[in-house]
Symmetry: C4
Subunit: 373 residues, 4 copies
């Protein structure tokens, strides 16, 4: 790692210089007034740790287990769309770096590389699912993911519609020529029609739904994603597959409890990196009550502005089993392709090791003692 | 809507460039040190929403009912003086845009267009009443409003005297030549003398009342508006008309309860957009206890720095039935006349739709579940 | 009042331009890191008022009574040293402006005009007393004040030693040639020796007392003011005079209770305008518990960053009987001599009138209802 | 003291100009994002004192006793590495200034002057111990310190590994040629081998421990310091010496209680000046609960951003027996060698005297009454 790239902030600044404006804005933006970007960060900063002293930390164990998966340290790579926007090697680079680090990689439905191609890269992988209006497409995606060896489904539940990112609208964001939503392009409306009786009917916009149409992504969402997604669909998804299902975007204890009742394997406490509802509460504030409600029964993961090893520790102290790391993966990818991602993962891991040692935690099970006050 | 006008902030900046300094300052200023402008905004920002997931929001119902009026979404246009200062079409443009959107428009006593002329534009309208020292004028205004088809009276109760806006004093604010307080100009002191035994006596200023006389508006208030307005006057107003009466400017639960006892139909939780008492509490902080005291019995509306769809949601979550939108209507008016106002109303509506969807609210009755914590 | 001088901030800025650096710094500075200057202001800003509506405020009574003194509005002029530094007319100008406004003027021991000369200006006056090591001087000052017609003694108790004002040290602050501490210059050490058996012995500095000696004021304090001042001295002062005694600089409820037990007539909740202990609590925060402890029994006054009429209202709502206005008097004095002070007093008064009206207070007795929440 | 050097901030600014970048960065930096540097300071600022009035403070007693040591005022000089980086006279200058002021000086294991040479300077001294992997070195250090006349051992317990200081990594921090860790240089691995059966085996880095290797200090720590340090080692240290043992770096009440159970004489509430775990809680926040748990039984000291006499008072009010002053000693050293340190100590002492007087504390035992609220 060069001397100029010592922190996540360094990578972010370097990526900003490298990336085209449209890509930088797409990755970096929060929704609306972007207050949640700051509140997510402030949520962690406000949580002070209480280090324990005189614990032997000469040989600590940073590993943990989430849904049967062994993690070298309590972090996974968050699903993120359009990774080729960050670097030509896109998802493949990320998958290889993840594999080299044994860090699970959650592949996005909106990947710019096909899930089957990504799956050829070894290493643990989960598949993030956007539920399509056309249930045949949804079903096909699930079955493809299972067939390709993905070991869990992460169903995004905080995006019945797309949050509004003003910069994308100003930029008229769209994918550059030659870049495609590789998982979806096979689904022309006709190509799936034969497989299901549920037609891909684009319902007319209700008159009260004159949504902003500034970006292509928004348009895509409106026409394809399913705003009717509800608990019955979760039951239907469970009927399709034996893969464990995690719900991503849960911010309420009652929803987490319902996820448990619905047979889900986990919840990801998330506000979509501040990209959906800008008024939503920060993940650091949502986490404790959700962990109190379902911790132990479900896997409880959390994301949003995790930038330091101490942030992972804070998340564990507040009841999470592990964190998801999102944008910083893209900064590493933009800066150095696969090696950049490896470097960023190393940075997190070594930073987490140091954080555990400095807080007197010999294994992740003891991290919960650091909260309080 | 052009790409440069995507948010209320965009409209505000554009309006600032378009408007003469005197008009901009008049519309934008808060009272005294203008701390409440910021605190009103901070009040909403501090209120974090708890979105619910996996609710079918493909066809949501944003409509609600306030005092028998069907609203397409829970917002009305706040009464604001001197709308011709923002655009030559003034109140008529606003009324037409409101009608096109089915959004109720609350016409100000201080309109620069006569209430009868405004009433010719179709669409739901309420009349905002400043109570004059000369009760004959007051009575005449009420009867004219009723005759013209206004369906409710909004009595402003937070302005026994005018708040001090320093910029107006520096600008020696006055209406430009040719612009008049159209509702009031017919009332020369003599013209109404015959109708009532209560003389329009201008009481001498008490020695302790050497108010700043920087602006003409201040002078007008001091000579014409009635600082003696009290609960007996509300009873008198009720005796004049069958129109439902809402009190605008209520910030205390006990006053709201008294409004209920006095037979009012609603209260508008308001600090006059920060233009009266700069030390008053923010509306987001006043709202919950007022809703707890009279919600369900009275219509509870709220205004003050509502800039995003999520702010409307926050207001509902804190117990309001609907919000009033004020200054942003003027920014739209300044930027594009009637079309500008329509665009801003569309912006709010679509933003509110998205906010409801992102928070898992299929109808406005469920929005109260988003508060807490 | 010219258009450029509409607020206290305007006067402050104008005074800064007019005053020599040494005088500006002396008046404006707080102690040490000057955090308390900001916290005093923040203390009021954090206190939100709950205006009451529909109260007849057409003829309000802003007057109140403090220790038998009728005040046109609940404010007195705080004692401040060296007023000729602000304007050549110094204390006389302030006294005349105070008299014209019927506002009591508290004359400082450190006046640059003799207390007898100031007393010739009509109007209510109190005398602020710094207790000297030489009790004969102290006794003489008390007797002179009583003889000259001052109606109360304000004993400063927060200055056993002088707070440290860094700017004064940098400036090597001293009074300009020809300006004297007029009340004290007659007391050469020999001149008072005959009157008392208590010798004016300057005790040697303890070795732990190597105080900064950057300013002449600091030196003066160290040699003349009495760091041994204690409750027995208050008893002694009471034995010297029938004048009511107020203690200025009280920040604790137990000290206020003790003042009551000691026969004092009042306390002034003050941290010396942030000029003594920079870590002390703000007056807005100290006031409520002191008012709860002795309010009703003792006169409870408060000072510190009172800049608006609403601040006076906040002080009353938190339990004060009246406020002291300090530095803004000097800004008025610097800007316009006697007329400048009158203008500033008018500004406060009219601002307070408006504040009461906007909060629905017809008399000062009802202001306590505005707190809460 | 020149007029330009009146506050600790003045010394800091002057030192920054004098010191080479590498030295300034080394001394000044906090860990990671350096939030704790600010939070340590904010912790004191948030604690408002409640001064007591009318206490005779003409002859106050600022002295106190800590572990049998008489302190002229409740402060000791914190252990700090590499003091020759600040000034060529390094530790000797600091020791002489400390002796002249009777302030105890805690000598660092990482001194650039040998502990025996420092011990020749008269005056009370404690020795700060980093526990080495090679216990023979550790034992030797303890015995040398005892032999040289140090009267207590301060065992650093918050540094099982080194915190990450980004600036040091960017600077590739290392000691300048000719400057050595004088206490350690005698310990070549072979030189101590004969004395103990515990070999100085450098354990291979675990694969999860790819720590940043940006600075030589970091490397030194990793290879020599003992990350296995635990409570058994404290028992072993006690068996080696009769010197009282204080643990430096305690932030939890349970750890403080355990220190008491382990026979320690005191704890130093510290987060290593923000240089180890950036997410740790501030010392002002950790102090009260630790004082509540072990105050009276153990000596409770505290450090971190103590810059004013009022900060010492705040620490006492929150339950500390005394404070440690760190970086400001180095600013004095950089600016003026021994005399610079004397001046800074005088500044603290006189500032503390004034603070006590302004708060009505005649002796340090009464300072606890200033908290509350």
């Amino acid at each position: 790692m060069p001397k100029s790239l010592l922190t996540i902030a360094d990578y972010r600044k370097a990526a900003r210089k490298i990336l085209p404006r449209m890509a930088w804005d797409y990755f970096r933006s929060g929704a609306d007034a972007q207050t949640l970007l700051k509140r997510n960060r402030a949520g962690w900063d406000a949580m002070e740790l209480r280090p324990r002293v005189l614990v032997d930390v000469s040989n600590i164990d940073t590993s943990t287990t989430v849904l049967g998966l062994n993690l070298p340290f309590p972090a996974l790579i968050a699903p993120m769309a359009y990774q080729k926007l960050a670097h030509k090697d896109g998802e493949i680079a990320l998958a290889r770096a993840a594999a080299a680090s044994d860090v699970p990689y959650i592949v996005s439905t909106m990947a710019t590389t096909g899930l089957e191609e990504i799956a050829k890269v070894p290493g643990p992988k989960w598949f993030q699912l956007y539920c399509h209006k056309d249930r045949a497409i949804t079903q096909d995606l699930v079955q493809r993911a299972e067939a390709a060896g993905y070991t869990a489904l992460v169903v995004t539940v905080d995006a019945p519609v797309l949050g509004r990112r003003i910069a994308d609208e100003r930029n008229s964001f769209e994918l550059p020529k030659g870049m495609t939503r590789a998982n979806l392009d096979r689904y022309s409306l006709s190509s799936v029609e034969g497989k299901t009786s549920r037609k891909a009917v684009l319902s007319p916009r209700p008159s009260t739904l004159k949504a902003m149409e500034g970006s292509h992504l928004s348009e895509l969402f409106r026409t394809r994603q399913d705003a009717s997604l509800n608990w019955r669909d979760i039951a239907w998804l469970r009927s399709l597959t034996d893969l464990p299902i995690l719900l991503k975007g849960v911010l309420r204890a009652d929803d987490a409890t319902r996820a448990s009742d619905a047979g889900c394997a986990g919840v990801i406490v998330s506000n979509h990196g501040g990209r959906q509802c800008d008024a939503a509460l920060s993940t650091a504030r949502a986490l404790p009550e959700i962990a109190a409600a379902v911790g132990g029964k479900l896997a409880v993961l959390v994301d949003g502005a995790i930038e330091w090893g101490t942030d992972i520790l804070r998340a564990l102290a507040l009841g999470a089993d592990a964190v998801l790391i999102g944008r910083p993966m893209l900064w590493g990818l933009a800066v150095g392709g696969e090696q950049g991602v490896r470097d960023v993962l190393d940075l997190y891991r070594s930073d987490f090791v140091r954080a555990m040692q400095l807080c007197g935690c010999a294994n992740v099970g003891t991290c919960t003692e650091l909260a309080g006050g």
